[in-house]
């Protein structure tokens, strides 16, 4: 008996005709355009600032991708950033060694994630409602703990590290842990049995359950990871600005979600890959940076992010509609037309 070919399409098609490559392509185009046309974009500081700016979004986008691939959502991430930042501040202020405080902040992030995860995975509550609640709850705890003040005393070794660059490359040091995490998450999501389960859950959680995937535990794990990484982002955020405040990173959740969706992850779950997400985050970062350099303010950047988001989700359904129309007209053209006779066919509407 002959064996099956492994792939239906040639390699170049599988690599190039994908949602991810579309985003990457767009990113390259925008970068090239900016280098050629935006003054100072090719300057030495651009890369440093760009990477530092997008770092928290990039970090949180990694686990958020997993959450969205399972078909859930986590709106509380920015509040976890705020809470871990405040905890770090309060504890260092109280005299705890920095590393100890950071570990507590990370643990708190994991606990926040576990709280979301428990309610979503085990109690079965809708993640949208749960995380709208914890968005307020965690932020409220953060603001409540630190009250009116900001903690600004952090060991300089650490604050410097958050902004240091590798040699003279202009690439920030934080890129290293980020790369490690990114590779880790990519392997976990795309090259592990756990990751396959995550996709299965997003595509069809019932079938996943029938196949022996532990749906509840997987979802729980993913939420815990999100909390943990958000706390890590919170520590970075605090160090970069040398300031722990209750309102740190307010509104970041929407940017993260926008970037993830832009990167080709389907809000319905089950679809999307990390390279696309990274490109999506960078795309938003580059556009913002280039526009700021041209003196365009935040408002236009908002409009562009919004339009990209709507366009990116609409593109899928528009493409589907087009191919549906095309296949229908092909069928009409091919066979003898048995479409209802026009004269009598006044019934019904020709929509679909």
């Amino acid at each position: 008996m002959s064996t099956y070919p492994e792939h239906a399409r040639p390699l170049w098609q599988r690599l190039l005709v994908t949602r991810e490559s579309a985003v990457i392509f767009l990113l390259v185009v925008v970068v090239l355009y900016s280098i050629l046309n935006v003054p100072f974009f090719d300057g030495p500081l651009t890369l440093t600032y760009l990477l530092l700016d997008v770092a928290p979004i990039l970090l949180i986008a990694l686990p958020m991708t997993m959450v969205i691939v399972t078909g859930e959502i986590d709106l509380s991430v920015a509040s976890v950033v705020g809470l871990s930042s405040v905890l770090l501040g309060v504890l260092t202020q109280a005299g705890m060694p920095f590393v100890g405080a950071a570990v507590v902040a990370l643990a708190a992030g994991a606990v926040c994630g576990a709280f979301n995860g428990f309610l979503v995975a085990y109690v079965g509550l809708p993640s949208l409602a749960v995380t709208i609640g914890t968005l307020a709850l965690f932020r409220g705890l953060a603001v409540g703990l630190l009250g009116t003040t900001a903690v600004t005393e952090f060991p300089e070794t650490w604050t410097d590290l958050a902004k240091a660059t590798i040699g003279s490359t202009g690439i920030p040091v934080v890129v290293i842990p980020f790369l490690v995490l990114a590779v880790g998450f990519a392997v976990l999501l795309q090259y592990s049995s756990f990751g396959r389960g995550i996709y299965d859950i997003g595509l069809n959680d019932e079938a996943a359950r029938f196949t022996g995937v532990n749906v509840q535990r997987s979802k729980f794990t993913v939420f815990v990871l999100t909390g943990l990484v958000s706390a890590f982002a919170g520590i970075f955020f605090t160090l970069r600005f040398g300031s722990a405040r209750g309102d740190n990173a307010t509104g970041l959740e929407l940017q993260v979600i926008a970037a993830v969706l832009l990167g080709g992850v389907s809000i319905f779950g089950g679809r999307g890959k990390l390279p696309g997400v990274v490109a999506g985050v960078l795309l938003i970062g580059v556009i913002s940076s280039a526009l700021r350099l041209q003196g365009v303010t935040v408002n236009v950047i908002n409009i562009i992010i919004g339009l990209l988001l709507v366009a990116s989700v609409m593109s899928t359904s528009v493409l589907e509609a087009v191919s549906r129309l095309r296949s229908r007209s092909n069928r009409r053209a091919a066979g003898p037309s048995r479409a209802p006779a026009a004269g009598a066919g006044t019934h019904g509407r020709h929509t679909s």
């Binding site: 500081l45 009116t148 300031s243 700021r292 350099l293 003196g295 303010t297 408002n299």
Partner: protein
Amino acid sequence: GGGSDSGSGSGGEGGGGATTVTFLPKNLGNPYFEASDAGGKKAVEEFGGTFDEVGPQEATPDAQVQYINTVAQQGINALVLSANDPTAIGDALEEARSAGTKVVTFDSDTEPQFRDVFVNQASAEGIAKSQVDLIAEQIGDEGKVAILSAAANATNQNTWIELMKKDLAANHPNIELVDTVYGNDDDQESFDKTAALLQSNPDLKGIISPTTVGIAAAARYLSDSDFKGKVQLTGLGTPNQMREYVKDGTVKGFALWNPEELGYLAAFTAQALVDGTITGKEGDKFTAGDLGDYTVEADGVVVLGEPTVFNADNIDDFDF
């Protein structure tokens, strides 16, 4: 930080020696900064530089840092800003300065090491005293008062509040400061906070709101409530915002320096720094266009002057 020497060499967009100045307010959509930036623009045009105004939507330090970074990338000659946090933006400012940008703070300062000069609207003591005096006069130097501030972390606000407390304790023993609430320079929040304040302190005699958004929101609340005329309101506000409430009797008097002049002075200070007239040392002297001569005081501070008190008699003389 990286790329320090190439930055200064790249010069400004204007080229040909014209000074490039970027104004960075706490946030956009704030009439106070609109006025100050207008003053800055006027000054920059007078000395033939290039003016730019950028800013975040929300008054947070992280949003401001991105704009400071952009300025560093562009190699702008001078950055004139009102700080959202005294330390959080410090490193970004240092990077901008190492790229050759002169940094002037106005309205709200950072810690002194992060900037070249701070252009102070008035001495903090003067501001605090004028407000305390106003409220004391309005309520007959007796009773409970409260403060409606902006953000809990705002440097200038907190400095004034501390000084007001001291002044009250020392010179007005019969006035009791019962509460300080924060409206975050948001109309709705300031408005609702005023309502809550009056609710929880029914026998309140007066409110001090040392922020332009706060005083306008509080005035609007009072003007339509039973408290109108019973609870006195003063603070720092712009005449255009407050005109209606001064005329209808809600507010007897409030104070402010002229923000346009503040921006004007800050821009000339920046120019003086760029062309080397001053370095930020105590005793440096320079001329600020129509405003005349100024001297840098201790800690690199330039003071605009004493605040003006606005009341029904003079408010129509001002338009900002």
